[in-house]
Structure formats: structure tokens, C-alpha cells
């Protein structure tokens, strides 16, 4: 059985070759695409668990492709780029990527990130309550669904995992490192910008007033805290 279906999107044939070779060796099923447009076609036609997406694609570009894919799919997305600055990372995460790796990278690191991105929450779904109802937000842990003001809101797996971790440890400041490792995996801990972007997206999706959050609160210098009113549990 394959460990997952991966779509490699890069205009560079040699990189696609290496990826295909190595990922196949790791028991993944691999398909590739040369452009963002081709990737979108493939995603429409078939289901993938993860996409490795090059930042520097001709025509449509990696960021735009990421946004388009994220609009309709909750597959894991890791972006590959040659630049290593925070602004680029934030842009990638904002566009809906789950993770970000700088070229040139070592295969073991990429494989670890792929595993982390594919891994669902380490907590079993049975742990904790099945669902939680807040004033106008309903979270169904079993079905991995979030309903805000009566309408279902689409969360990416990472967003959902982050929200779940926060909700399961309510009214308690959770440090950045703990959140990163719980949601992204043990190799993480320093990527505070990931949290900033994902928290921002979560607030936008579930808070009635994202600029003045009432559930997901920032604990300056420490991390984040989920404010759960007593009667909700």
C-alpha cells in the first residue's frame, strides 16, 4: 500500500526526476506537473494527499497556484523556494501552504516534512469531547467540521489540527513550541511565523470580529490561549 499520493510541481525536469525516484523509493505514489495550470488539471482529475510546489513556476507562478488549489482542496501543500526570507514564508503560508522548504534541501529533511504534513493529529479523535458548541461556533471533532453562524467553514487539516489542540487545552497559555510540535511535528519549534499566519487565518474563519478575538487569544511572548466559556463543555 502506498504511503500517500504526492504531486510534484516543478518546471525543472531534473528536480522532478530526483523527486520521483526518491519518493517512489519511499513508497509514495508520485505524479508530476510542469506548470501550475497542469497541476490544477491533475488535481481536478484525481485526488492527492500532498503537493510539492515550486515557487518559481513559469506563467501562473507557485503562489497563485497554491491559492487556487487551496480554494478547493484541503490537501497538504509544501512550497519549495530558493529564497529564505520571512516575507516569502509568510506569503506562502498566507496563500495556504502548510509548510515551506528552501532549495537546496536534503532529502531526509524533505521526507520528514512530508511525513509531518501528512500526519494527522497525534491525539486520537476519541480523546476529549466529540463536539463543542460556542456562542456561534460549532466544532465537530469526529467529522472534522466547523460550523460558524450556521454555515460550514472550510479549514485546512493544519488549521483544524491547530484549532483542535487549542480547544482541547482551553483557558491555558500554550507556548509556541508546544503548538508547533503538536501540529507540525517534532522537527518544528522555531517557526513562530507559521503560527502567526495560521492563527490569523483561524481567527478570520471563526471569530465574529477577527481584529478583536474572543476565543483565540494571544499570550504575548508565550503563545496562544483558547478562551472557553465554562458552560460550553
Amino acid at each position: 500500500m502506498s504511503a500517500g499520493r504526492i504531486l510534484v510541481v516543478d518546471d525543472e525536469p531534473q528536480i522532478r526526476r530526483v523527486m520521483r525516484m526518491t519518493l517512489t523509493g519511499e513508497n509514495y505514489e508520485v505524479e508530476d506537473a510542469r506548470t501550475g495550470e497542469e497541476a490544477l488539471d491533475k488535481i481536478r482529475a484525481s485526488r492527492y494527499d500532498l503537493m510539492l510546489l515550486d515557487w518559481n513556476l513559469p506563467a501562473m507562478g507557485g503562489l497563485e497556484t497554491c491559492r487556487e488549489v487551496r480554494a478547493t482542496s484541503d490537501m497538504a501543500i509544501i512550497m519549495l523556494t530558493i529564497r529564505n526570507d520571512e516575507q516569502d514564508k509568510v506569503q506562502a503560508l498566507d496563500a495556504g501552504a502548510d509548510d515551506f522548504i528552501t532549495k537546496p534541501f536534503s532529502m531526509p529533511e524533505l521526507l520528514a516534512r512530508i511525513r509531518a504534513a501528512l500526519r494527522r493529529m497525534p491525539l486520537a479523535p476519541e480523546a476529549g469531547p466529540q463536539r463543542i458548541s460556542l456562542e456561534n461556533v460549532e466544532i465537530d471533532f469526529q467529522a472534522r467540521k466547523v460550523i460558524v453562524a450556521g454555515a460550514e467553514v472550510r479549514l485546512t487539516p493544519k488549521e483544524f489540527d491547530l484549532l483542535r489542540y487549542l480547544v482541547l487545552h482551553p483557558n491555558k497559555a500554550i507556548p509556541h513550541r508546544e503548538l508547533l510540535q503538536a501540529v507540525w511535528g517534532p522537527d518544528y519549534g522555531e517557526q513562530v511565523e507559521y503560527l502567526r499566519v495560521f492563527i490569523k487565518q483561524l481567527r478570520r474563519k471563526i471569530e465574529p470580529r477577527p481584529e478583536k478575538p474572543q476565543y483565540i487569544l494571544t499570550e504575548p511572548w508565550v503563545g496562544y490561549r483558547f478562551h472557553l466559556p465554562e458552560q460550553s463543555l
Binding site: 525543472e12 525536469p13 531534473q14 528536480i15 526526476r17 530526483v18 523527486m19 525516484m21 526518491t22 517512489t24 523509493g25 519511499e26 513508497n27 510542469r34 506548470t35 518559481n56 513559469p58 506563467a59 507562478g61 519549495l80 530558493i82 529564497r83 532549495k103 537546496p104 534541501f105 536534503s106 532529502m107 531526509p108 524533505l110
Partner: protein, 477 residues
């Protein structure tokens, strides 16, 4: 001057007396009014002194010719003394008012002229061309607007003096420098010379000297403000263009660095991924391992080509292109370029058509390969995947013409001239990774061989880049 005006006054009074006494005899009251009219005219036209002289003359004539007993200075009726005295006071007072009104009018007119000149100057300052020295233009405009015989402008920042006007400025430069440093005002009324500091925000930034101009204090103030604004505008513009140039150069550098980083990191990424995969994965089959090693091998070659090119680029950039010319066959050059390109071009295909019996070319093989690679690389980059690229070589007028044709979007005519400029990226293709140096490099290389490079392109159909190369010496003989 004064005697002349007094004579005119007396003559006018005499004329009125003659007309009223001899030609059109009228009564004393009417004569009094006619005299008054004449005196008001004198006051308005010739000033207070002639009006007073006229008044006195009129009183004498009035008494002698019109107040009974006529033709004598004695006055019979004491009431007439009152009339005479009232006439004198009225005429002198009216003269004064008339005189003042005239003065006000003159002042107003002179203010208006000053304002008009300041306005003209302010317009001229706005239109000053910054491509030529601005303070010099300022001085010229001031001299023209105010009809000054000489204008001198001192720019404290640069320590330069700028002169304009038909004459030399009569005061020494020291005076201007002093005004600029101490912020003082120097006026020489007799000489019609003024030297004043030019201030901006309270700080003297220069000084202005003018000769042959009469200006009110407020006009002078307005003028120096305009000069200050003019000088400041120039400075702001210089600063802005410097900042813009610095920004552009930074942008160019970062574009270039990005492109270089992209070019180099791509093979490095393949190499690193393949080698770390080989090192860490134990599950690879022998043929997979071999393929990864092959990738490392090919990408190392590619990196080596890139390094060679980077060195050539640096040589060309530094203007030190030393040609190592030899006879080369065009087939060999083309084949070598395509070989090196192969691993990085996917399934792109180049159809090669080299004319039979083409003589060898006398070129620096390494450099011509670089040039050719730039053109083929561009053809791939700027045309849709899968579309054909063709390469041709023919002999024409003792030169070999090599052309690379693609079926890309084509280049609008307006941009065709610019694509050979350094860092120029055509509007429609900014998204394609690259530094905009490829064509510059190709052009420099071809030129170094005293060849030519040009493009023929139609929007929607594609582009053909062509260049000419010299054929081997012995073939020419």
C-alpha cells in the same frame, strides 16, 4: 526743472486770465472756478509746487482783473477779501488732495508692476529646466523680469556665483558672501543697488544682489522667497533623482542576484536532493541509484557550464573580452551547445538545419557557444512547451548567418529595439525567471567578433534572432 514747472504754472494762469478777461468775458464767480480747475490740473500734472505757484498767481490776477475796482490791487468790498482768501485756501488744499491721489495711483501702479513681475518670475521658476544649471537660469530670469542692469546670485551650498544682466554687478563678491552668511540686507538707494540674503526656513541659503532696480521691501521679500523656493526645488530634485538612481541600481542588483541565485540553485538542488537521497535511503534499487548518480553527474556539468558563463559574463561586463579565435565548424558548435542544454530542456526539441558545405567560422568557440546558448535558452523560455524551435545556418556575403526561431508570443515592434538593453525585460514576459542579461551577453559576444545581431519578430507568430559570424581566413582568400 522746478523753474520750468513754475513758469508753466504762471503761463497757464496767464492764459486763463487772458481768455476770461479778453476773449470770453465772464463774471468773477465763474473765473474763480476756472482758475480752480486750472490749479487742480497743475497739481495732478506737475505737482504741489507748481499748484501753489499757480494759486498765488491766480489770486493776484483774480484781484487785479476781476475783483472791483478792476485793474487795481485794491479791493473795494471787504467781502471780496474773504472770497480771495477762501479761493487761495481752497486751491491749495485741493491741490494737496489731488497730489496725494496721484501719488497713491502711482504707488499702486508700481506695486502692480512689481506683482506682475514677481508672478512672471514665479512662472518662469516653475518652468526652469533642471537639465541646465538652475541658479544661472534663476539669475537670468530675475534680470529679465525686473529689467535689472545686473543680477548676482550666490549659492551658499556650492559657494558659486551666478551673474546675469547687461552690466557687471558693481559690488564685490565679498558683499554677497557676507549677506549669505550673516543674513543681512544692504541697500544703496543712490546707486539703486540692493544685496539681500536668501533664506529658507529662517536659514540663509544664499544671497541675491541686484543693480538698477527699485523694489519695495515687500516685493524684495517676495523675490527672495521665490529664489529660495527655486533653489530648494532644485535641491529636492537632485536628492530625489539620486535616491531614485540608488533605488534602481539596488533593484537591478537584486534582480540580477535573484536570477543568478535561481540559475545556480536549480542544479544544486537536484544534486543535493539526489546525493542526500543516495546517502540516506537504503531502499533504492540499483537502477534507481544509478539514475540518481547520473543526475548528479549531469547537473555537475550544468553547474560547470554556468560557472564558465558567469566568468564570461564577468569578462564581458568588465569590458575585457579577449578572443581566442580558432577555426570551428558550425555543426560542432551547435552540437556542443545542444548537448549541454539537453538535460535541462525536458522534451523540447531543436530542429537543426545547417547549409551543406558551410565554411568553418573563425571565432572564440567558447564565447560563441555562450551566445548561442542564450538565444536557444530564450527561445525555450519564451515559447509554449512543446512548440518547435529551429536553428539554421547559411552562408551570405562571406559571412555565416545563424538564426534561432521560436513560435512564442513575438515581440511588439516598440520593444524590439530595447530587448538588447541590459536588464530589459519585455512587458509581457516579466514572470519568466531571468535577469535580462542573456541578449546583452549574446550581443557583446557577437560584436566582439565584429558581427551583427538582430531580431525579426511578429506578435502572435514568433521571433527569429539572427547573428552573423566571420568565416575562416583561408576560406576568404
Amino acid at each position: 526743472m522746478l523753474a520750468g514747472r513754475l513758469a508753466i504754472a504762471i503761463a497757464i494762469v496767464a492764459a486763463v486770465t487772458f481768455v476770461c478777461f479778453r476773449l470770453v468775458p465772464v463774471n468773477a464767480t465763474t473765473v474763480g472756478f476756472v482758475y480752480l480747475l486750472a490749479i487742480l490740473y497743475l497739481a495732478a500734472r506737475w505737482g504741489l509746487a507748481s499748484a501753489i505757484a499757480g494759486s498765488l498767481a491766480a489770486v493776484i490776477c483774480f484781484n487785479y482783473y476781476f475783483l472791483p475796482p478792476i485793474r487795481s490791487f485794491t479791493i473795494g468790498d471787504p467781502q471780496n477779501w474773504v472770497a480771495l482768501f477762501a479761493f487761495l485756501v481752497t486751491s491749495i488744499t485741493a491741490s494737496r488732495f489731488s497730489m496725494q491721489a496721484k501719488q497713491h495711483t502711482l504707488e499702486a501702479m508700481s506695486r502692480q508692476r512689481e506683482m506682475e513681475r514677481l508672478y512672471a518670475l514665479s512662472r518662469a521658476i516653475l518652468l526652469i529646466e533642471t537639465s541646465r544649471p538652475v541658479p544661472k537660469q534663476l539669475a537670468t530670469q530675475i534680470a529679465q523680469s525686473f529689467d535689472a542692469s545686473s543680477v548676482a546670485l550666490y549659492d551658499r551650498e556650492t559657494g558659486e556665483f551666478f551673474r546675469a544682466g547687461p552690466e557687471d554687478f558693481p559690488k564685490p563678491e565679498e558683499k554677497l558672501r557676507q549677506a549669505a552668511v550673516e543674513g543681512t540686507l544692504f541697500r544703496d538707494e543712490a546707486d539703486h543697488t540692493v544685496v539681500t540674503s536668501v533664506r529658507l526656513g529662517g536659514q540663509p541659503i544664499g544671497s541675491l544682489g541686484m543693480h538698477g532696480v527699485e523694489l519695495s521691501d515687500s516685493a524684495l521679500q517676495g523675490l527672495t522667497n521665490l529664489v529660495a523656493i527655486g533653489l530648494e526645488r532644485l535641491r529636492a530634485q537632485i536628492a530625489a533623482s539620486r535616491a531614485e538612481a540608488a533605488r534602481q541600481s539596488d533593484e537591478l542588483k537584486s534582480t540580477l542576484l535573484d536570477a543568478i541565485a535561481h540559475e545556480f540553485k536549480t542544479p544544486l538542488t537536484s544534486i543535493k536532493a539526489a546525493s542526500t537521497s543516495l546517502l540516506s535511503t537504503s531502499t533504492l534499487k540499483p537502477d534507481q541509484q544509478r539514475e540518481l548518480v547520473a543526475i548528479v553527474d549531469q547537473e555537475t556539468d550544468r553547474l560547470s557550464v554556468l560557472v564558465t558563463e558567469a566568468i564570461q559574463m564577468a569578462r564581458i561586463e568588465a569590458g575585457r573580452v579577449v578572443l581566442r579565435r580558432e577555426d570551428h565548424s558550425v555543426e560542432d558548435l551547435v552540437e556542443s551547445v545542444l548537448d549541454k542544454l539537453k538535460p535541462s530542456v525536458d522534451d523540447r526539441h531543436v530542429s537543426v538545419n545547417i547549409a551543406l558545405g558551410l565554411p568553418p567560422v573563425w571565432v572564440d568557440g567558447e564565447l560563441i557557444e555562450v551566445a548561442l546558448r542564450q538565444l536557444i535558452d530564450n527561445a525555450f523560455k519564451y515559447s509554449p512547451p512543446g512548440s518547435p524551435v529551429s536553428l539554421e545556418a547559411v552562408l551570405r556575403d562571406d559571412r555565416v548567418i545563424v538564426s534561432v526561431a521560436d513560435h512564442g508570443p513575438g515581440i511588439p515592434e516598440a520593444e524590439q529595439g530595447r530587448i538588447f538593453e541590459k536588464f530589459y525585460r519585455a512587458e509581457a514576459s516579466r514572470h519568466v525567471p531571468g535577469a535580462g542579461l542573456g541578449l546583452v551577453i549574446a550581443r557583446e559576444i557577437v560584436r566582439a567578433h565584429s558581427g551583427e545581431i538582430w531580431v525579426e519578430s511578429k506578435v502572435g507568430e514568433g521571433s527569429v534572432f539572427q547573428f552573423s559570424l566571420p568565416i575562416a581566413q583561408k576560406e576568404q582568400e
